[in-house]
């Protein structure tokens, strides 16, 4: 029974990963103008990015039983949320409370366009995983029609 659901479990890991990505992208967009953060010594917000890693699906012993195929099936996991190390964007604004003595304000180095494009990509990837899951379900349902 569980082998029917394996494809769906893998798609589920993809959905979870894309949702984390979406959350991080939202965070980037929401903080595109944030000049102060709790981290990195109160400097501007730093752009974040998710790092995906492929993980063999199921338990190690199960992989043994599945022989060669067990290790071929890999689910995706978010293993790291990478902080951008790019220098902050300096903007001249002497009236800003966080301006330095030259009147320059350190703004986050976030391109809103890039974030939007990434967001579309995340949405599409999510949709693709849902489609894969629905197709896996359709296959299982089709199998139940055998001999009817």
């Amino acid at each position: 029974m569980s082998s029917i659901f394996k494809a769906m479990d893998i798609s589920s890991s993809g959905l979870a990963a894309q949702r984390v990505r979406m959350n991080i992208l939202s965070s980037n967009l929401a903080n595109a103008q944030t000049t102060k953060s709790a981290e990195n010594g109160g400097g501007p917000y730093r752009r974040q990015d998710v790092v995906f890693t492929a993980n063999p699906v199921g338990e190690a012993f199960e992989n043994y039983l599945d022989e060669d195929f067990g290790t071929q099936m890999q689910e995706v996991k978010v293993t790291e949320i990478h902080k951008d190390t790019k220098e902050p964007r300096m903007v001249f604004d002497p009236t800003h409370p966080h301006a330095d003595k030259d009147g320059m304000v350190a703004m986050p180095n976030i391109q809103v366009m890039t974030e939007m494009v990434n967001m579309i990509a995340a949405t599409r990837a999510y949709e693709a995983n849902v489609t894969a899951m629905n197709n896996a379900k359709a296959m299982a349902m089709k199998a139940l029609e055998i001999g009817r």
Partner: protein
């Protein structure tokens, strides 16, 4: 899938288990009446037992799906897609059991229709 639908499935499954018990007892009474010794039963699980295991497995899927739906509704978890996945798994499992039941009933009726 709504919780009420899942509990409906539970009821359907309960009645199905009852039906299968019925069939099992009928089959057993038939086999004893024709004087077959039940030594094969002690050697391993009977077909009905296997069937019951299968039903229990699917019932577990339903219980899991039920629990996840309740957790999502009460805000205990935020796993929207995993809840949907559990519901889908329960749906497939339930369909599987229904098909299995149809097959068994077909076979049973075929045997009952046999000319003696």
């Amino acid at each position: 899938m709504s919780t009420s639908m899942i509990s409906n499935n539970h009821q359907a499954m309960e009645s199905m288990i009852g039906e299968l018990r019925d069939i099992k007892s009928k089959a057993e009474s038939l086999s004893t009446s024709i004087g077959e010794d039940n030594s094969s039963k002690s050697s391993g699980k009977s077909f009905a037992d296997h069937m019951m295991d299968e039903i229990k497995e699917v019932n577990d899927l339903h219980i899991q799906s039920d629990k996840m739906a309740a957790d999502l509704a009460t805000g205990k978890s935020e796993n929207l897609h995993e809840t949907m996945l559990a519901a889908t798994k329960a749906e497939i499992g339930f369909n599987y059991i229904v098909q299995l039941r149809n097959k068994i009933l077909d076979a049973y009726q075929e045997v009952m229709r046999m000319q003696v």
